[in-house]
């Protein structure tokens, strides 16, 4: 079998850069959280952070463990449906709904992950996709519960701690706070011994196994944690739009989060956050323009992949490297001329 998937795309060790620029990414993110609703429509701003939570979950698998999962919508959608159903028909407490979403995300990820981690490489990717399709078709046909193609509408957004969050900005604040919390938790996870073991599996699975780590079990843990994040994102998504569309559990959604994470840069903790920002902002802009916007999305996939691989983070770094070399070259060229 070929080397592990995603191996080549990962810049190695992240921890060094963390210690030197420890505070700056946090300042940038907190600034973005505060400023975003000023510039962007509140619903879109909210969606950006929800999608970022979703991306954080995927990136634990893709970026840190080297497992390219093409079925993350399974966990996102399942959680959205279950929590949405309970919110709609049983009026559960919003925190209960969030908790149930996280649990459903984690449990569905445990089931899917158990089957997927049995195989590696190409088979792994195809399995995640195929199982996603199974959940999709179940949701598609189970119309009495999910509403099938029409989606599951009428999901309420109940008050939190007695505060009304039906206003867009209020809900934005809740989601943004949960996003920052999620980012902090994910930072703790990837810097924990577990995170190091997962990166070790990414870099060299046989060696990790030789060191005594049960690679399959660790991958499953990554699945479960990633699924929990997806589940949280799913419930927040359902409450944002008041509906669970069938697409929320579809494979295009799974592909979108992979794409967003890659354009942000899957090697870093903040990559999916940047990717989500770019992706949601772009897709919301073009989807308003044209009903056939997935065509533009597909073109964007192709163009980014052919010409802007490495994502925004790398493009940014390349830009500064280019500026630096240009700055250095100019005087030296002048010096050559004097000889």
């Amino acid at each position: 079998m070929s080397p592990a998937w995603g191996e080549e795309a990962q810049p190695s060790n992240q921890s060094q850069s963390h210690s030197t620029v420890l505070n700056r990414p946090w300042l940038v993110i907190l600034g973005a959280v505060v400023l975003l609703p000023v510039f962007v429509r509140h619903a879109i701003a909210t969606e950006i952070w929800i999608f970022a939570i979703f991306g954080l979950g995927l990136n634990l698998l893709m970026g840190y463990t080297g497992l390219l999962s093409f079925g993350q919508a399974t966990f996102f959608g399942s959680a959205a449906y279950v929590a949405g159903y309970l919110l709609k028909h049983h009026g559960v407490n919003v925190f209960v709904a969030l908790l149930i979403g996280i649990v459903v995300g984690a449990v569905s990820a445990a089931v899917v992950g158990y089957l997927c981690v049995q195989r590696s490489g190409l088979y792994f990717i195809m399995l995640t996709f195929a199982l996603n399709q199974m959940f999709y078709f179940t949701a598609y046909q189970w119309t009495s519960v999910t509403g099938g193609e029409d989606g599951m509408p009428g999901i309420p957004r109940p008050p939190m701690l007695g505060l009304d969050v039906r206003a867009p900005l209020a809900y934005y604040t809740v989601v943004a706070a949960l996003f920052v919390l999620s980012l902090w938790v994910m930072k703790r996870v990837v810097e924990s011994p577990l995170g190091k073991i997962l990166q070790c599996i990414r870099e060299n699975e046989p060696r990790a196994a030789a060191l005594g780590y049960d690679a399959a079990r660790m991958k499953l843990v990554a699945f479960v944690v990633g699924g929990a994040f997806s589940g949280l994102a799913g419930v927040l998504y359902a409450m944002l739009f008041g509906i669970v569309p069938l697409e929320a559990i579809g494979f295009v959604f799974s592909g979108n989060v992979v794409f967003a994470t890659l354009i942000g840069g899957s090697g870093s903790l903040y990559g999916p956050v940047i990717g989500s920002f770019v992706f949601i902002w772009l897709s919301e802009s073009v989807s308003a323009m044209w009903a056939r916007w997935p065509l533009l999305l597909g073109l964007a996939f192709v163009i980014v992949v052919l010409f802007f691989r490495g994502g925004v983070v790398e493009a940014w770094a390349r830009f500064w490297a280019w500026r630096a070399t240009r700055g250095r070259r100019a005087p030296s060229a002048g010096a050559d001329a004097t000889h």
């Binding site: 079998m1 070929s2 998937w5 995603g6 080549e8 795309a9 390219l68 089957l115 049995q118 195989r119 190409l122 088979y123 990717i125 195809m126 399995l127 996709f129 195929a130 199982l131 996603n132 399709q133 199974m134 078709f137 179940t138 046909q141 189970w142 494979f251 295009v252 592909g255 992979v258 794409f259 890659l262 056939r292 997935p294 065509l295 999305l297 597909g298 073109l299 964007a300 996939f301 192709v302 992949v305 052919l306 691989r309």
Partner: protein, 287 residues
């Protein structure tokens, strides 16, 4: 339940199963040789069906369309490999995979734009219309034709891979690309050929399917998941495995459709999950 119905449904399962096997083999060749799960495989399947439809509209010959449609898909495949996948050899598989994913969206949307967002239907050629009396039941001629045609195509693919020199090179490419290129074989040409061959098989599977199930832009997406199931169960480059896996899910789907039609698609994936629980390595336990 009546016996004739059960028998017809079993035959339906075999016919669709053969088409699944064809999809699986095409995908298996691409995935095995190029190391990418081709996410555009389903969309190319749909394109094969739509090209058949248009060629019949323009020229009027089903038989010519059955040849031209997959050739058209294969030519597009060559263009994709040459213009998209080849520049990404060094960039890594993640990007090639995302490229095929983007292409699948583009092809699907292009079908909606060029043809129609709603489904269309395509009649079989006059000679294959109507039923054929099998004694137990009267069965549509066209489906019998599909069974035979798909069987011949699988046989052709087997003969090519097992009995010809280039087929042997292709199998070697699935096993060990580095070694193949060290032997002085143009590995890039091998990649292009494999991609074109896989696309041809997807295209002809789509063309054969059109008179059975009709055409709709999302037919490819549904097929992609099934092709993944076949490859996962069969193992890369395993033709016999692909046939067994294709027939298995095809027959399971048809039989479940009799008792619980809503679950007939989900059962394909359930069968895969069940097999993998018992045999994580797949039906034939390769790699």
């Amino acid at each position: 339940m009546n016996g004739a119905l059960l028998f017809s449904q079993l035959l339906n399962g075999i016919a669709t199963g053969m088409l699944y096997a064809l999809m699986g083999i095409g995908l298996s060749i691409i995935t095995g040789v190029l190391n990418i799960p081709n996410f555009a495989h389903g969309a190319l399947f749909a394109l094969g069906a739509y090209l058949l439809y248009t060629v019949i509209q323009v020229i009027g010959s089903f038989w010519l369309a059955l040849v031209l449609a997959p050739v058209g898909v294969a030519l597009l495949g060559i263009a994709i490999e040459y213009g998209g996948i080849r520049p990404l050899y060094k960039a890594g598989h993640d990007y090639q995979l995302l490229l095929t994913f983007g292409l699948s969206l583009i092809v699907t949307e292009a079908i909606i734009l060029v043809w129609s967002p709603v489904g269309m239907s395509q009649l079989p050629p006059p000679i294959l219309r109507g039923g054929f009396d099998l004694g137990v039941a009267i069965y549509p001629k066209y489906r019998l034709f599909v069974m035979v045609a798909a069987g011949l195509l699988v046989l052709g693919a087997w003969l090519f891979l097992e009995k010809t020199r280039y087929g042997a090179i292709m199998r070697a490419g699935i096993e060990d690309k580095e070694m193949v290129s060290l032997l002085g074989i143009d590995i890039h040409r091998l990649f292009t050929t494999a991609f074109a061959l896989g696309c041809f098989l997807a295209g002809i599977a789509g063309a054969l399917t059109a008179p059975i199930r009709g055409l709709n832009p999302l037919m490819g997406v549904d097929m992609l998941g099934i092709a993944f199931v076949v490859v996962t169960l069969a193992g890369l480059g395993n033709l016999l495995g692909s046939i067994v896996a294709g027939l298995m899910v095809g027959v399971a789907q048809s039989l479940v459709a009799l008792v619980w039609p809503e679950a007939s698609v989900a059962v394909i994936f359930a069968v895969m999950a069940a097999v993998l629980l018992v045999r994580p390595q797949g039906l034939f336990g390769i790699r």
